[in-house]
Amino acid sequence: MTKPDTDMLESLFQDARFAPPPMPAGLMDRVLADALAQQPRPSVRRLRGMWQAIGGTPALGGLITATAVGFWIGVAPPSGLPEIAAQIITGDTFATIADDSVIELTAFGWDIEEG
């Protein structure tokens, strides 16, 4: 391969790189139509992203457990906790706190402002 032939070949390659074959009419439009037709819908992807953000399927067990435990504590609270559920349902009494046991509450001046 002589140098003139090599130079000519490089020149031809360069021309081909800078002047690619013209695109057939409508090809770009057809490709774009395919792209948009195949594109996943954003809403579905966004919901899937939110679901993944909270841990996806593996987090579902933990979520159910936490909900059940919270519900059970409300229905049958351990000793020391007020029976909020029963009070709400029956409307008998409300949980109260002895005034002399929470002096800190007066530091905000609530008792003075409200008389």
Partner: protein
């Protein structure tokens, strides 16, 4: 986490799939992958950008390899359709989008070349669109492009694919090796033999192509 597979199919059993070396900063090295991610998230602008950027490259490659506009058009649309379908499952860092796409195109071209046999005559090399170019220069350039394409068409398929990927698409040898599923040394051998064959075929046309008095 890097995956050994793409599109859920082992590379050696699927002609569309490919296994590629992983890279930690592949997302930065491959902006097409970022666009593809946005496309998969429903971004219509990403669909337009990918279409505008990839379609001319893929069509140009297919045209140079097949030497036929209608077939190159079919291959381009088919290859890009496969990209759109795989987009939701694409894993950034696994393979460059362009490498994957060139590989799909190379396989589609190989299939077509095998089906039709060799030797397709060029019928329509369109003139370049540069309005400042003189009519004589345009004719000269059209003749040169046609001569190069005719010489490319006469090369064995793999040589032609390697030469087009290396010298017209401007890809590096390791990427060509991944696309053609061969070693880098084999790529070097194919391109060297291809260039020698092209120079031999085109050497006799120096005067006709205006290379004796025009050094461009």
């Amino acid at each position: 986490m890097m995956q050994a597979r793409l599109n859920g199919a082992p590379a050696h059993t699927s002609r569309d799939g490919m296994t590629m070396p992983a890279s930690n900063d592949a997302d930065r090295a491959d902006p097409d992958a970022y666009l593809l991610l946005r496309y998969a998230q429903g971004d219509a602008a990403a669909a337009r950008l990918l279409t505008v950027q990839l379609t001319p490259r893929i069509f140009g490659h297919a045209y140079s390899v097949l030497g036929d506009g209608a077939e190159a058009e079919d291959v381009t649309q088919d290859a890009l359709m496969r990209l759109w379908k795989i987009a939701p499952d694409w894993r950034i860092g696994e393979a460059k989008v362009s490498t994957w796409l060139y590989r799909v195109v190379a396989n589609l071209c190989t299939d077509r070349l095998r089906k039709r046999g060799r030797g397709v005559a060029l019928e329509d090399i369109a003139e370049p669109a540069d309005p400042t170019e003189s009519a004589e220069a345009r004719l000269q350039r059209g003749a040169r492009q046609e001569a190069l394409q005719t010489a490319l068409d006469e090369l064995p398929d793999r040589q032609r694919q390697a030469v087009v990927l290396r010298h017209i698409d401007g890809l590096a040898n390791p990427e060509i090796a991944a696309i053609l599923d061969i070693g880098v040394e084999a790529v070097e051998s194919l391109t060297a033999r291809g260039k020698r064959a092209l120079a031999k075929r085109l050497g006799g046309q120096r005067d006709a192509l205006g290379y004796d008095d025009d050094k461009t």
